[in-house]
Symmetry: C2
Subunit: 342 residues, 2 copies
DNA sequence: GAGGTGGATGGTAGCGCTACCATGACGCAG
DNA sequence: CTGCGTCATGGTAGCGCTACCATCCACCTC
């Protein structure tokens, strides 16, 4: 006889089917799956056998509705193609892959408004945690995060006044360290070249400025920025602009490695000697910077580790074990290479 | 008097609250939101007012449970940091951002087993559509896709026998076109350098081989591959290996642009003239290939467009308007540049 | 031996929404 | 004027799960 299946269910086994087969109550099956230690070993085995035989998989939607909590991490990044965020995402992903949490992705396109919209969309779903890039949320976004009712980790940067938790490093210090290094290596007309100029880039610029001013070398004409999205192509163009504006330029600290690579290629093309005539420093230290010719000095940032750490903190908070220190600074490392070895 | 709120609900307004405020039945609210044309304009306005006033947002979990369909696109890619897939993902994301569909991400790490596991996890959720990279699913994965009960789009490649729909291009043809170009430009000892060697890379290699054989130039010693994940660093190392193995090498067709860049940098470092002594062709045509010095010939692949198209096809299928032709070949374009201009 | 305690198990009542099936009003053909 | 489709609206009954509370059964304490 055919079991009368309801109109909607696709015929998948439900928790009631498992319970029937195992000869226990549905709630015991639910517990055996979620808190095995609260069920006697005997029943646990019986239930597991029934689960295996039926190929039962719990319906995450029903679970989310009943428990008012979805097993979902909402992740908001400003860009999917910027390899910096791709690596953060990879770190998040890898740390979550052997849990039952799913990842729901949001791309803010560097827009505060878009971030607000996405938080509005993510909220009603009651995610288990939210991981958002950056610390410069709009007041609305901040309120949405505060009232989300789940752990929130702001990543990529550290700063005062976290919504909940933070993992990152100081972009200001990174920019300053890179610039100080160049000054130390004998570059005195060091330019800053930056694209996109999101808040993190702004802080790298501030670090650059602080270092230059401390050395009495700051000159506004050395700074070349644009709100246009960053690319290697753009790096080349900005470098040309920078040279036109400040012909005595003897080095550049670039916003990021894409820009630095563009500068490097343009130097090759224009037969400008690196590091002799122009020194180059990048930011992030992508894989290729070490291989480039000449190899390019860059500020190594712990992107993958930021992803992993953010998940670890969120999971701890979910488990009720909030970390003592809600703000974690993972630092950075200046990689000195040929492009600044004058 | 305080309305008695249940233990679980976080106090968010529900559809019943909206219905009460608008003086209609809950089901009418539901309809007004999902199929506005089926509700009279009068009520529609009233309901909208109530929604706005209460700040009502439907609970996606309840919706998914009741309708046995989640507004989620499951997306499976083999890597998050490979910029090729990042761009596909961006295309998918951009095409979905003004719909109410959410994106749930899966990273298969180029593993068929992992892909199976992820499909198992995605299935019970009843996603609205699945987009998976590649056409070489395991039999188990294939069955999971066929029984998913939603549109499925295989992306990045075209081939016979789609599970449902496909968007991509021929990697074999791409590899062949690149190789033929090099032969035409006078390179006769053209090597193949490949890392990772996933199925798509294998087909590029097959295309290379076909072109070399057709010209009577194939020599197994010209082929250098490794299962190790691709990187610029690895490109340099593989190129060294290739040169050691075949000192008369006069050109290389690289598996992808990262490898090509590694080769280019190594040529600079070892003072090997490009394109005179060694010609270089890459694959994918990342932004930087045009800017590199010398600029690098590459096969431009429509990655972003693949993402967009896959979503368009899936949305059409959801709306019941399946495309006539389930397999879409978006082609590729060989970009001839300085690195092969002998 | 009465009463207490704690651990294992189960029943019931939702979670917030939508599928399904009325219901009632209206227009129109006969 | 009757009968019947058509359209807008609503009521009811779940979707598959879990929170909450009750129950039951050792096992103990005094």
């Amino acid at each position: 006889m055919i079991k009368p299946r309801s109109r909607r269910g696709g015929g998948r086994p439900t928790i009631a089917d498992v319970a029937r087969k195992a000869g226990v109550g549905a709630i015991t099956v639910s517990r055996a799956l979620r808190e095995p230690e609260r069920v006697s070993e005997d029943l646990r085995r019986q239930i597991q056998a029934a689960v295996d035989e039926l190929g039962y998989l719990p319906d995450p939607n029903a679970r989310a509705l009943a428990s008012a909590r979805a097993e979902v991490f909402g992740v908001l990044v400003p860009s999917l193609t910027n390899s910096v965020f791709a690596e953060v995402l990879r770190g998040i992903y890898d740390s979550l892959s052997d849990s039952s949490f799913r990842i729901q992705l949001g791309n803010t396109h560097y827009s505060g408004l878009e971030e607000e919209r996405l938080l509005q969309v993510f909220g009603p779903q009651r995610p288990a945690a939210l991981i958002v890039a950056g610390i410069d949320q709009t007041p609305t976004s901040r309120r949405l995060l505060e009232t989300a009712g789940c752990p929130v980790v702001q990543v990529m940067e550290t700063g005062p006044d976290p919504v909940d938790m933070m993992v990152g490093f100081s972009h200001f210090d990174g920019g300053r360290a890179a610039t100080e290094h160049m000054i130390e290596m004998g570059y005195h007309r060091v330019g800053f070249i930056g694209a996109r100029m999101d808040p993190r880039s702004q802080r790298r610029l501030a670090g650059y400025r602080a270092a230059m001013e401390a050395a009495g070398l700051f000159d506004a004409r050395l700074v070349t920025t644009t709100p246009v999205p960053s690319s290697v192509t753009l790096g080349r163009e900005l470098f040309r602009d920078a040279l036109a504006k400040a012909p005595t330029l003897d080095g550049v600290f670039c916003n990021n490695d894409d820009i630095a690579l563009g500068v490097l290629f343009e130097c090759h093309r224009a037969s400008i000697a690196v590091p002799k005539t122009i020194g180059i420093t990048g930011f992030n230290d992508l894989d290729m910077m070490e291989v480039a010719f000449p190899s390019v000095t860059s500020v190594r940032t712990p992107r993958y580790e930021i992803g992993r750490r953010s998940v670890a903190m969120a999971l701890a908070a979910i488990a009720g074990k909030r970390p003592q220190e809600p703000v974690v600074d993972l630092g950075f490392e200046l990689k000195r290479r040929e492009s600044t070895a004058r």
